[in-house]
Symmetry: C2
Subunit: 209 residues, 2 copies
């Protein structure tokens, strides 16, 4: 496969693509989000994307690659609150942004409830193993970023000395994932916000060894 080094506006030879790949990916993302990797069939996906199977395979490779691309888009779109949260100036603000962001992202009107990173491929058969691994890595990477952020907070005196940043990060992300599961169960935004608020009211939690 030739690498398209110059992928700017310069028109390539041949018939130009007849659909917006980003918009199509957005629709695929929504299907994966609502139905999970295994529950989303090629027919479901391409119908939502408004293109044929052939066009999908030409543009994205295969179902697995499409899923990967959808996860990337999710990370930069509905899941972007995570990266933004990590840039907050204090550990408390990080926790608040993460929890409030989770509540909003998992109950966004017009979008599926819950979190793609949680429900996209939590338990799968053999054909979905790759997707499962992708999301497991996605979750664990996110958790490690939070841990790193808290490590810095401890070093900066922003968190009590002796705080275990890994433990605190795991606790925080657990609540975040719990919110996602509750959202997928149909719990409303206000009730989930109470969960987030409850955690923030008790922040930072005692964690003495």
């Amino acid at each position: 496969m030739l690498v398209d080094v110059d992928n700017r506006k310069k028109a390539r030879a041949g018939r130009p693509r007849g659909f917006d790949a980003e918009e199509a990916l957005e629709q695929a993302l929504i299907v994966f989000w609502r139905q999970g990797y295994e529950g989303a069939t090629l027919t479901d996906l391409t119908e939502a994307m408004g293109i044929t199977r052939t066009s999908m395979y030409a543009a994205f490779g295969n179902k697995e690659e499409l899923f990967r691309r959808a996860v990337d888009r999710y990370t930069e779109g509905p899941g972007a609150y995570v990266a933004r949260a990590l840039e907050e100036p204090t550990a408390r603000a990080v926790a608040a942004a993460l929890l409030n962001g989770a509540v909003r992202a998992t109950t966004r009107p017009g979008y599926p409830t819950g979190c793609l990173g949680v429900q996209g491929a939590l338990a799968t058969g053999a054909p979905g193993r790759r997707a499962h691994d992708v999301l497991t890595a996605w979750r664990n990477y996110g958790g490690s970023c939070v841990a790193d952020r808290f490590r810095r907070a401890v070093a900066e005196g922003d968190l009590p000395p002796g705080t275990d940043p890994d433990r605190l990060a795991r606790y925080l992300t657990s609540v975040s994932y719990g919110i996602s599961v509750q959202a997928a169960s149909g719990i409303g935004r206000d009730d989930l916000q109470q969960v987030a608020d409850t955690m923030l009211l008790n922040w930072p939690p005692a964690t003495f060894a």
Copy 2:
């Protein structure tokens, strides 16, 4: 279909069943647990159960019914800690039993990681909708039982007056579901126990307003 009113030891006419239905159900439970409803094929299930498709359909009806039976067995087996937790004498003991039970059940050696009730059918396509609904109801029922237990605790003065039992239950179950997701991500038992311990160290959480 005739209802088998007298299903006790009295031998029915015809050739007796050549396998242990309970043991077969246990194996099916494990497959559903690890692969989810949609990810578990009839071939996966029957091979694990050690019986043919015909025997499975004769004994359990169809895949959906088998899943329901597996969920029931899960509730009475690995998930029995929930019912036991609700019988603890204090709200704190309830929370401790629930969290410790979740940690142990989701990281049981020889069993799949995570919780069947969470990962069995969190996001599905149309064919898995029933399974999805079954587990959503399962989770919400469990949550309502915890809320009822906390309502009693408030009435008994076991929790601070003004405590919102629904809110507290949602918070607790969220952490429990979060533990399940983390377990499915491969987080080990010790690390998950820290999550449970962290919550218990901060119990009961402040929930004013």
